[in-house]
Amino acid sequence: MTTIQVRDVSHQFSNQEYVLDNINLNVREGSIYGFLGPNGAGKTTTLRLILGLLKKQKGEIEIFGKPFDNHRIEILSKIGSLIESPSIYGHLTAVNNLKVWQKIYQSPDNRIGEVLELVGLAHTKNKKASQFSLGMKQRLGIAIALLHSPSLLILDEPTNGLDPSGIVEIRELLKSLNQHHGITIIISSHLLGEIEKLVTDVGIINKGKMLFESSLADLMKRQHQASTIYFDTNDSATAIKLMHQHKIEAQIEKERIVVSQLSKQGIAQVNQTLVANSIEVYGIRAVENDLESIFMNLTNN
């Protein structure tokens, strides 16, 4: 079942060009969906549209199988969100911040202690939120999003301002919420490396257009296919000529021959051809492109 379905949604601010151009997005129930794109790609605008913070101009948005416009309150009661910087009342303590939202959600009193414990802020006691570090504010923002035990979490760059150990903690927390409580999570980021260890599905957006949407496994497959093979020989010039004769695209880079996208069988054939033509092959090395470079390729193209 699909938890979030966005169909042909476009959006523009005033008379400027479209910041979202016919985007489609599908978040499976129980998944952790990584919503990726460089700064200004349209991630936050998409998430704000999903939450009804922006008036929808074109397209359809369904959450939990129901159109958002007609079931706003019912849908929002099952969503926890953290959009951009955390929404925190600086003059209140962490507990009172949570009480503000608890009154609305009518969640049990003991839930406040639970979520504070969960995000590691139980020790803050009478400290006002304005005195919190950015990381602590971010954690409190996540605690607010979790307060009413939502079945869908929408998090816009939730690890902003967190130190590396904080990032790992939040990652583990989100994994646990997904695995043990079945919470569907959509998490946006401009850093693939930061969320590749967390997500099950990936959507990549750039300049308001969805460039890729599939499972992380699919993206990995793409990564594998995009691997680069390096041939180290005694005569690179002759070797590259032979490769071109066999219609294999290759180039010389630092006295090595570089071939991209070559199957295992292809590697064996090239090797045989080179040896058969008295070229000494000292080494063959396959280097898989990291996800970051695939992301860069997708967004740059």
Binding site: L54, S87, Y89
Partner: protein, 259 residues
């Protein structure tokens, strides 16, 4: 209805420890505190005044004099802006507008908190006035003071009219504060309109300026109707309040960006 009550509780909690919260307490007791000090440090004046049968009317009128002309309208404008701007200042509109409650509930519960705070201010102000007379009477052992009965009905009527007359300020400041992120906009708007109302009080159409009514109410109580042409400015106050609130509600519901 339950949704409104929960939302009101949430809004009430938010104001805890804010400047607006302290403004209600400090503002409510400020003028009475001055009269309390006068009563304690100038016992002869106090004892002489306590002999007058008009003791309470004079004290109430003096307290309202300082309150009505500047402090009440300014305090109302400031407190309303501070409460409303709390969401902009803390970047919380986006969180509030994604809670499972209708936008109407959010709008009216916040508005109700401001109205209740105003009521709270009026109550504290009157408690302060009472204490500003009672404490010197106890300290100086004034027997006459206890013979003066508090004119409850006239005090209530005066307070009700002042309450009504500052409601347009609440509505208009609420409207402006909901629309502009920058706190200086509602603040300078409120101060500007307040100054304009003081300048225009004797203008023949001064009653069209929604911040003049507290001023008119005070001078009317002293010198008869000050508003030109015998205009009942209380109706104008009610009209501005209702019109301003409905316009504010309409604009809030139709905001393109809700955080």
């Amino acid at each position: 209805m339950m949704s409104f009550i929960h939302s009101f509780q949430s809004e009430w909690l938010k104001k805890k420890g804010t400047l607006a919260f302290w403004l209600v307490f400090v503002g409510g007791f400020f003028i009475p505190l001055i009269f309390l000090s006068r009563g304690i440090f100038y016992p002869q004046d106090f004892l002489a005044e306590a002999k007058s049968p008009q003791f309470w009317n004079v004290l109430l009128s003096r307290c309202w004099q300082f309150m009505a002309i500047l402090l009440l309208p300014l305090g109302v404008a400031l407190a309303t802006s501070l409460i409303t701007q709390l969401e902009f200042r803390n970047n919380t509109w986006k969180q509030l507008n994604t809670t499972p409650q209708s936008l109407s509930v959010i709008f009216w519960s916040k508005f109700a908190v401001i109205i209740v705070m105003l009521l709270q201010f009026f109550i504290l102000f009157h408690i302060g006035i009472y204490l500003s007379a009672l404490i010197p009477a106890i300290v100086h052992g004034s027997a006459e003071f206890y013979q003066r009965s508090v004119p409850f009905s006239s005090a209530l009527k005066t307070a009700s009219l002042y309450f009504l007359d500052c409601l347009p300020i609440v509505a208009i400041q609420y409207l402006v504060s909901l629309q502009f992120k920058n706190f200086l906009v509602p603040l300078s708007f409120g101060i500007g309109l307040l100054l304009a109302s003081m300048i225009a009080a004797q203008w023949q159409y001064g009653y069209t300026i929604p911040y003049t009514y507290c001023l008119y109410n005070f001078f009317t109580a002293r010198q008869g109707n000050l508003a030109p042409g015998g205009v009942n400015f209380h109706y104008w106050a009610a009209g501005y309040f209702i019109g301003g609130t409905l316009l504010s509600y309409f604009l809030y519901l139709n905001k393109k960006e809700k955080g």
